[in-house]
């Protein structure tokens, strides 16, 4: 029988694996529906370990809103660690959902959320364990339709071989539209089989179906054309944009896991989208325009969410949370509601701005003032102009002085290495900045036991950004610049000991680079490296650069392309990019102009507060920035 639990067979294996609780489900607010009460059934996957996947906001939103619908059933599945994978293979147990332990292969749809490209090999493991053919072309009528979503779905070409469909942009309305199309197709008696369903998805515009596009290549390896190969299939597929966040107040009652996970808090997205225009930031480019959630909805969601979960921390999420038009009132209102309780509030992703210290002070009324995080991203003034991060060194120094002066003891600063036009001096400049931070901080705080941590990652150029044409810096140069920075930091005996430096080697970024800007030929690399045993590539203890290089070398042998070709090669305006037929709303001409401006250090203002600069999204998508203020306040639902 379809949808039957495999738990009886799984259970005897669990005592022999690490952290078995991650596989048993039973979380607070988990939903288990009768298999037969639904005519459309989704398995939702986050392709990483449970501890990372469970808190994922996107999966939780879709899980909740699908299960609220009559006749729809959604369950979750996560990547199993290699110890359980081996035991499952030995005992013939398929990839299962954690809700009712049903075989993933029994569902109508398998929705996979890719927030990072390094989850691709985990998709292959799950498909293989589920008994779903790895290549979409080999799938039959009863295999689930594999739908990719998340930010990486804006260029799904590297996984085009393995997925049936990709959804660009916000998922809330899209999953419901897909659900209705699947329901109608099943009710009609599944006309024209799998192809019939995929054609309905494609022609409705709800999803991109890679199989319905032919890609041809030039002799030098570049793409020649991408052409629809079925009548009625659109030339370009557009992203989805939810226009009223107050109508979609999810998650209302998020899952509360028994296992420990990476985020143990109730998170509410206070707005979606960002128009700051940081040129490296794919999230900021593909989620435009800005859509604020109203202060009253934020207040209601937080109070209901905390009551429903018992979480002691509330995260006010967005790409730049302090930019909400009523953030001061939100912070004060929530701090008032939770004053004297065990609930603490946090505001991740803050810009370098003294106002943010004031906010953090407000939010930390119940807690300790331990650490604040800022993201200058570039070490030198010139570099920050290139990436359009309009922060001067004086801004930063003033901000951290305020922070230390207000009792904060540690400041963490995020940077990137390998940005376009970057020189060794731009990276080494970070050390001087950190020294000034400590020096100013000691003066402001009147004490010496302060910390400044520099966290620095390798820059990966991403599709749909002005840097999509840029050459990625090779990993040897990244490592050399980071070594030079480290030497410069510790050289100063007076401040060096107060400064921590956190970085990773540059090699995983190169693989991420290939997967980010790759085309369909990269599918062969993913398949090869997975067959050679690659799993959990986002985890340094599992990631093997050598295995990826070997797979790329083998797959690209005899072709004009290579790992370098996809990563360290600069593209020009005339090149057809693998994602050109996927419409994020951004005008390619504007992106190119912004890329040219980057090279010359020209800055772009935020269009929330200055005139439109024609990035193309609003007219193209029929959307506009939605920002307050509303003038209202956070109201407590009940006295606390």
């Amino acid at each position: 029988m379809s949808g039957e639990s495999v738990f009886d067979r799984l259970e005897p294996l669990l005592p022999g694996v690490r952290k078995p609780v991650q596989y048993v489900g039973g979380e607070l607010h988990a939903v288990v529906k009768e298999w037969d009460c639904a005519d459309v059934r989704w398995a939702l996957m986050y392709p990483d370990a449970y501890e990372v996947g469970l808190p994922n906001q996107g999966v939780q939103i879709l899980y909740e809103l699908l299960n609220e619908r009559e006749g729809v059933l959604a369950e979750r599945t996560y990547s199993v660690w290699p110890d359980l994978e081996a035991a499952m293979r030995e005992h013939g147990i398929p990839q299962f959902t954690v809700d009712a332990h049903r075989p993933v292969g029994d569902f109508d749809l398998l929705g996979v959320s890719f927030s990072t490209e390094l989850g691709y090999t985990n998709l292959l493991t799950a498909l293989d364990l589920a008994g779903i053919p790895i290549s979409a072309v080999d799938r039959g009528l009863d295999d689930p339709v594999v739908v990719a979503g998340g930010h990486a779905a804006f260029n799904p070409e590297p996984v085009a071989e393995f997925i049936d469909a990709a959804v660009l942009g916000d998922g809330e309305q899209a999953v419901l539209a897909i659900t209705e199309l699947v329901r109608a197709w099943k009710a009609d008696g599944r006309p024209d089989g799998r192809e019939g369903l995929l054609l309905r998805l494609a022609t409705s515009g709800v999803a991109y179906i890679p199989a319905f596009y032919d890609v041809t290549y030039l002799p030098d390896g570049r793409i020649q054309r991408v052409v629809p190969n079925r009548p009625g299939v659109p030339w370009r597929v557009a992203k989805h944009t939810v226009m009223d966040l107050d109508e979609w107040p999810y998650p209302k009652a998020p899952l509360v896991p028994l296992a420990e996970t990476v985020h143990e808090r109730y998170s509410v997205e206070i707005f979606r989208g960002c128009t700051r225009g940081c040129r490296f930031c794919q999230a900021g480019m593909i989620t435009r325009p800005v859509r604020e959630r109203s202060i009253t909805t934020i207040g209601e969601m937080v109070q209901r969410g905390v009551a429903a979960t018992g979480f002691e921390e509330v995260g006010l999420l967005s790409l730049s949370s302090a930019d909400h038009s009523e953030i001061a009132a939100v912070a004060k209102g929530l701090a008032d509601v939770y004053e004297g309780t065990n609930v603490s509030l946090s505001l991740p992703s803050t810009r370098v701005d003294a106002f943010n210290v004031t906010l953090a002070n407000e939010l930390s009324r119940n807690g300790r003032r331990t650490g604040l995080t800022f993201a200058p991203e570039g070490g030198s003034e010139r570099m920050r102009k290139v990436i359009n991060k309009m922060v001067t060194e004086e801004d930063l120094i003033r901000t951290v002085a305020t922070a230390y002066g207000n009792g904060w003891r540690a400041v963490k600063l995020y940077f990137m290495c390998g940005l376009p036009t970057e020189t060794d001096e731009d990276v080494v400049a970070i050390a001087g900045m950190a020294h000034r931070v400590i020096e100013t901080g000691r003066a402001a705080a009147g004490r010496k036991d302060l910390r400044c941590t520099i966290s620095i990652g390798g820059f990966v150029p991403k599709p749909h950004t002005p840097f999509q044409w840029a050459a990625q810096l090779d990993h040897e140069s990244v490592d050399r610049r980071l070594a030079a920075l480290k030497a410069e930091v510790v050289k100063d005996k007076q401040f060096g000991r107060s400064i921590g430096l956190r970085y990773h080697d540059g090699r995983p970024s190169i693989i991420e680079g290939m997967l980010s800007r790759g085309d369909r030929r990269v599918s062969a690399v993913i398949r090869r490296v997975w067959e050679a045993g690659a799993r959990f590539d986002g985890w340094s203890e599992y990631f093997s650069y050598d295995a990826w290089v070997a797979a790329a070398t083998g797959a690209f042998d005899g072709t004009p392309v290579s790992l370098d070709w996809y990563t360290t090669r600069e593209r020009d305006l005339t090149e057809v990019l693998p994602w050109d037929h996927l419409d994020s709303g951004l005008d390619k001409e504007w992106l190119w102009q912004d890329w040219q401006d980057a090279i010359s250090g020209g800055e772009v203002e935020d269009c929330r507060w200055s005139p439109c600069y024609d990035c193309g999204v609003c007219p193209g998508m029929g959307t506009e920035n939605q920002v307050g203020p509303t003038g209202r306040t956070v109201l407590p639902l009940s006295p606390v």
């Binding site: 738990f7 259970e11 005897p12 294996l13 669990l14 005592p15 022999g16 952290k19 078995p20 609780v21 596989y23 048993v24 489900g25 039973g26 979380e27 607070l28 509360v256 028994l258 296992a259 420990e260 143990e264 009551a307 429903a308 979960t309 018992g310 979480f311 002691e312 004297g340 065990n342 300790r368 004490r447």
Partner: protein, 250 residues
């Protein structure tokens, strides 16, 4: 300059409760840390007026008696909580049980009489029930008799830092194979009860199983399912059948 926590000190403990809870079914795979986190969240959801410790990072006043190993079910886990306002044991039991997921069930709550012995003083042994699918009753009986006939059986327990020797026999007070007629056993599935005195290092049911396999030749084709049925003081009243433990909440 020493820093002081802001605000007034937290309200004091005015009442203590002892709680018996279970780990049933698939939730037996929760580790103790997992349970503790879930329990503290349940307290907040249930609105139980838990008291907090003073200091920079206040902790809820919850103290746990030794927890069953991850993967072992239990009908008898114990903890004690301190409340900042008085409540009836019944309301605390109902509120906590409703706030915890099914399987982690709060079954009994009693108020602590001030000045009496601590919870730990009420617990010296555990009664474990080990269900052995694929093992027939006679084989289990033979193996257990061979096990009891020895004074000491040292087994290697795998730990994070390598193997550690544990005497799996010395702490076993009594035990036996449960008669099939009692309804606990079925053909080809023996049920073994053991009463184990708590000691340092603690002897766990899987140490006993290792000893039965190694020293008494028992073979277990399927992973045994273990449940802690009770904890308490050993009942010294003769005859000592060893399966009777004095309920720590009575």
């Amino acid at each position: 300059m020493s820093r002081q926590p802001e605000g007034p000190p937290p309200p004091p403990v005015v009442q203590r409760m002892r709680v018996r809870y279970t780990k049933r079914g698939r939730l037996r795979f929760t580790s103790h840390r997992d349970f503790a986190r879930a329990f503290e969240r349940a307290i907040h959801r249930a609105g139980v007026p838990i008291a907090f410790s003073a200091g920079f990072s206040p902790h809820p006043k919850v103290s746990y008696a030794g927890a069953a190993p991850t993967g072992v079910a239990s009908e008898a886990e114990y903890l004690e909580i301190g409340l900042a306002e008085t409540r009836t044991p019944e309301s605390v039991r109902d509120d906590l049980d409703a706030a915890l997921p099914p399987g982690l069930d709060v079954v009994e709550v009693v108020e602590v009489v001030p000045g009496g012995p601590s919870l730990a003083d009420h617990i010296e042994a555990s009664w474990w029930r080990i269900v052995l699918p694929g093992v027939d009753q006679a084989a289990a009986e033979t193996a257990f008799a061979a096990f009891m006939a020895q004074d000491s059986i040292v087994v290697d327990r795998p730990t994070k830092d390598g193997v550690k020797p544990v005497d799996a026999r010395a702490s076993v007070v009594s035990g036996g194979v449960v008669a099939a007629a009692s309804g606990a056993g079925e053909p080809g599935c023996a049920t073994l009860d053991v009463v184990v005195r708590h000691a340092i290092p603690a002897v766990r049911p899987d140490d006993v199983m290792t000893a039965l396999r190694r020293a008494a030749g028992l073979s277990t084709p399927v992973t045994p399912v273990v449940t802690r049925l009770a904890q308490g003081l050993l009942d010294a009243a003769p005859p000592l059948d060893g399966r009777r433990l004095i309920d720590p909440l009575k």
